[in-house]
């Protein structure tokens, strides 16, 4: 390589050892190499406080310039629900046959928004934070997980609003409300996983961020956010496979489980068969699979 170095004249001889062997002799490791999966999990665990601090900071920074400040955390989901109620509840009358339509709709919107925002944020988790990725060393999975966590915190604000709505429409407080905790845990695992998958794809092709709104809107309409899959399709003549696919759709599964947990008039017979198995299966498959998929490209994040 000495052709690039004409001054001073190379002092040959003394360093006849190759760099690789010299490195090996002193136990040096390749900089920026991907750690093993267990080592990666350990590093990620060591950064858990950063993950939570980053999520909270993002959440707080979001509305810090607004006059009403953090009130928007609750206002935004409520306004969202109001718009959907106006269109689907009042104008289109999708509510036929669904008792307690307002909580039904609002639960659907909030739970769906959690998944939707996690995917959108995940898509830009690496490509939108290249400055951070190029300045500091940390397991990159911290970013998509942190964004999913931020959305979870956002959802908890929304849930507070939802509780108020439930009490307003006279829905009784039931023991089944505690089911919301396992549902949220499973959904968070699923969201974090899909967020990591999208983060890797978005890091390679940032264009995906332009495409996602369309994919997500389609997904939203088939997930029964503002209509009841069970009631609407009971008497339809769709092929059996389509029915199964609609019911196995993870977004629909989490939405229905949350409705089952919170809304008194939403009964267990409205849930698809094996719904908890679906919920757990999706969470494990996407959560673990997404994590491994993301880790596989760990050393490549940050290239312009």
């Amino acid at each position: 390589m000495s052709q690039v170095l004409d001054t001073p004249p190379p002092t040959a001889g003394a360093a006849a050892e190759t760099p690789a062997r010299l490195a090996a002799r002193y136990g040096l490791t390749v900089s920026g190499a991907r750690p093993s999966l267990s080592e990666y999990i350990r590093q990620l665990w060591a950064r858990r406080h950063f993950i939570t601090a980053f999520a909270t900071a993002k959440l707080t920074a979001q509305y810090s310039q607004a006059k009403l400040g953090q009130v928007w955390q609750v206002m935004t989901p409520l306004l969202n629900a109001a718009v959907y109620y106006f269109i689907f509840g009042v104008l289109l009358g999708t509510k036929h046959g669904v008792p307690d339509y307002i909580p039904f709709l609002v639960t659907g919107v909030f739970v769906w928004t959690f998944t939707q925002s996690s995917i959108m944020a995940g898509t830009r988790a690496i490509s939108g934070n290249l400055g951070l990725v190029r300045a500091l060393h940390f397991p990159r999975a911290a970013l998509p997980i942190s964004f999913a966590l931020q959305q979870l915190q956002q959802l908890l604000f929304s849930m507070a609003a939802l509780v108020v709505i439930l009490l307003c429409v006279g829905s009784p407080i039931g023991i089944s409300w505690v089911l919301a905790v396992p549902v949220l845990t499973l959904q968070f695992t699923f969201n974090a996983g899909i967020s990591m998958i999208m983060a890797r794809m978005g890091a390679k092709a940032p264009d995906i961020a332009q495409l996602m709104p369309f994919v997500l809107r389609t997904w939203m309409y088939v997930s029964g956010v503002m209509w009841s899959i069970d009631k609407t399709l009971k008497h339809s003549h769709l092929p059996h496979t389509v029915m199964v696919l609609l019911q196995a759709n993870p977004a629909a599964v989490y939405i229905d489980l949350m409705r089952f947990a919170l809304i008194d008039s939403f009964h267990a017979d409205q849930l698809p068969h094996h719904v908890w198995a679906y919920a757990t299966g999706w969470a494990l498959l996407v959560g673990v699979g997404g994590f491994i998929y993301f880790w596989k490209a760990e050393e490549r994040y940050g290239r312009g």
């Binding site: 002092t11 360093a15 760099p19 490791t29 900089s31 312009g304």
Partner: protein
Amino acid sequence: MADLVHDKPNGERVPTVICDGVDIVYRVNGTGAGRGSATAALNRILSRNQAEKAAGVRRVHAVKNVCFTAYKGEAIGLIGTNGSGKSTLLKAVAGLLPVENGKIYTNGQPSLLGVNAALMSDLTGERNVHLGGLAMGMSREQVKERYQDIVDFSGINEKGDFITLPMRTYSSGMAARLRFSIAAAKDHDVLLIDEALATGDRSFQKRSEDRIRELRRHAGTVFLVSHNNNSIRDTCDRVLWLERGVLRMDGPTEEVLAEYEAFTGGSDKPKGTTAPRPSPPAKPSKQEQKQPGAGKVPLPS
């Protein structure tokens, strides 16, 4: 690999960073090089293996075949005109940029002195100290323990209780001081410092230089990128001179700085007229080459 400068011939020296023929290439999408960008983009998607140039991807060859070995206890200055690849090389050593060819071996995890990207201007200085500390890998306890030192060092509170205000309300100097204070709060094995000494007023610069020397005592090896030759002279005993991504000189501070000053001290004429010993011509087919001599950042507008 015969380019080691043996300024300390006695004893066995322990290497901490080894760069072995390192190339770093940035790829920039959609620069419109070649054809109209829409067709180019389609091309890029359809035929992955096609020449990147035709597909509208500009390759910026930022660092070319750089080899050096850094040893424990050394303070190494990195100099060169703007856009010559100094910061890029530093980031690659820190493991933050992938290398195209070659390998970089390091002892432990070198850390770049810089947390700017982790901080959020909408948050208070106080929360940014916590966030920045955690982002650098400090534990919550460490951050809590050093919080007061960081604030005191930055001098943000000298003129009132500013640490509880959002960072966007700070003057640029204040923000820079706080950023440096956060970044310098951690001890490192291999420390990489990128133009950190240029922040703040005179008194803060003095304090920063002291802190850098202190960090150097704790760290095994320090790399310092700076355009201030005096601060290089004060802190470094060895200097690497990068020019257009090529390692042009590697040697004791005074020797290299003398050559460098001769190179930059002259007019802005194309290189070779003032450089005593110009480097050999760069490898062919690098259409991303900078303007000769001007040394501007090569990224397209």
